[in-house]
Amino acid sequence: MTPQRARTLALGVLLAGFAVLPLLLGDYWIYTLTIGFYYAILAASWALLVGYVGRISFAQAAMAGLGGYASALGVQHLGLPPVLGLGLAVLVSGALGLAIGWLTLRLHGAYLGLTTIAFAEILRITATAEYGLTEGSRGLQVAPLLTGGSRTEYYYLLLGVTAGCLVLMGLLLRSRLGLFFQSIREDEDGAASLGVNVTLWKMVAFAISSAFAGLAGGLYGHFVQLITPSMMSLQEMGIVLAMAVIGGFHNVLFAALGGVALQVLLEALRELGEWRLVAFGLVTLLVLRLMPNGIFGAAVATIAARMRRNGGDE
């Protein structure tokens, strides 16, 4: 079997697996997995920026929250149908992403990271303080995406959107844009010397990544129907980071799977309370040290090596 076909097969099995899961699971786990899809898009969007372009950001959860509020308020105050609310979420988060990308063009490493933390906190605190609009930390009621939708219907909807987002990211990263992104990650001066508009693509990357986060946040809001500023918190950001790193942030699919897997673990280990986060922190450190391509990256590499060996024996 060629690697190409093995990959297509694996993706098919994966998607089929997620498609049959609701038949086997109760409402609680269906709900948990649906939340997992929110995290999957969010972790993948972070991986797109950090893993491919090499630009660190701690504002991803804040961008999701922004999308959540944009869509909710668009429906509530502008009378938009929720689908157009999601469109608004994509636009608002994408536009702010573009602005942050522009403002941080010359920043690298710790300075870039700290600046994005500042942006994230500004967004979270604004959402908390703008009580008249957002109802602050009491939380904002959000219109449902599907009127009277069942858990299973939401599950399939979010599964479909997640798969769609991943396909879109995959196509984007396979296009010349993906090469430009990676050349910027590897060496900005080198990329510029070969005609890559580093300034433009760094901003575009921030915008695209934020737009996906905004979409994820919008969907989340219309699904759980209550959002609070805590979805923009740095603790949430930490969880998204752990998901992407543990799954493998050099690949958007691995990061997405990390999102689903950790969300399931978070629920399964509920009794451990805050200790779960401590454990995730430790695992994140270990994975960073031992498996730079994440757990799924390491697993796929092992399987591929075994296939090559077996292929060689024949």
């Binding site: 010349r176 090469l179 430009f180 990676q182 050349s183 990650r185 590897e186 060496d187 001066d189 080198g190 990329a191 510029a192 010397s193 070969l194 005609g195 890559v196 508009n197 580093v198 300034t199």
Partner: protein
């Protein structure tokens, strides 16, 4: 007279109190292969960085085929035909050799991947790198890395290439091969400015040699004239014999 390919006049660059380029005038015609030499810190790389858009100038003008270069970004100049390499190679280590080439080949936004790949494979074959096309650039030796940087620059189909110390750390056999390629590209019409401390290479390849010292051009002549110029000898005395 035709317009020079590259015309630098009154170029000034200061870093704080240090004057790295002190009103440099230099005119280079289409198809020339010019050696640029000078002791450490004389301003060679600085000149190259300004011509390729990496540093702003503090005074003077630079024209490429008659249009001004100053104020343009590096990627614009690269697409406009000014290619460069780096004193310390700037390869995309986690990308394959071919992907390194494709970044340059696709950066114009219009060339198709098929066309860029074909051109890349041709250039890699020229440089005996085609067998490594699908290896990561990180796995290349230092010399192969220098070759890949050459190849990447040529992907831009440049009118001028500025090579900064291309022979650093390259073993003699590979160096001979690089000489050949540089001479062949030049014969094909590419204007080349070659910075090197390797006098053997410079004197062998370049009909014209420009010498910088403390930001001034102190000599502009043939290899023979350069070798026998008292100012050049003087500039190098402190470094090589002192």
């Amino acid at each position: 007279m035709t317009t020079p390919q590259l015309e630098i006049s009154g170029l000034i660059k200061r870093f704080g109190g240090l004057t790295a380029l002190n009103s440099v005038d230099l005119s280079i015609g289409q198809g020339e292969l010019v050696g640029l030499i000078g002791p450490n810190g004389s301003g060679k790389t600085t000149l190259l960085n300004i011509v390729s858009g990496y540093y702003p100038a503090d005074g003077g003008t630079i024209r490429h085929s008659g249009t001004s270069v100053l104020g343009k970004a590096p990627h614009q100049l690269a697409r406009q035909g000014i290619g460069r390499s780096f004193q310390i190679t700037k390869l995309f280590k986690r990308l394959t050799v071919l992907e390194n080439m494709l970044v340059a080949g696709l950066s114009d936004g219009t060339t198709s991947r098929a066309a860029a790949t074909e051109r890349a494979m041709g250039l890699l074959a020229d440089l005996r790198l085609e067998r490594l096309a699908h290896e990561r650039a990180a796995s290349l030796s230092g010399g192969q890395g220098k070759l890949l940087e050459f190849a990447r620059v040529m992907m831009l189909e440049p009118e001028i290439i500025l090579l900064d110390e291309p022979f650093g750390g390259v073993h003699p056999e590979l160096k001979r091969f690089m000489h050949e390629r540089i001479a062949a590209w030049n014969a094909a019409g590419v204007t080349i400015i070659l910075i090197s401390h390797d006098m053997g290479s410079i004197f062998e390849l370049c009909a014209r040699v420009v010498t910088l010292s403390y930001g001034d051009i102190i000599c502009d002549g043939t290899p023979d004239e350069t070798r026998n110029d008292p100012a050049v000898l003087d500039a190098y005395l402190g470094e090589q014999h002192g």
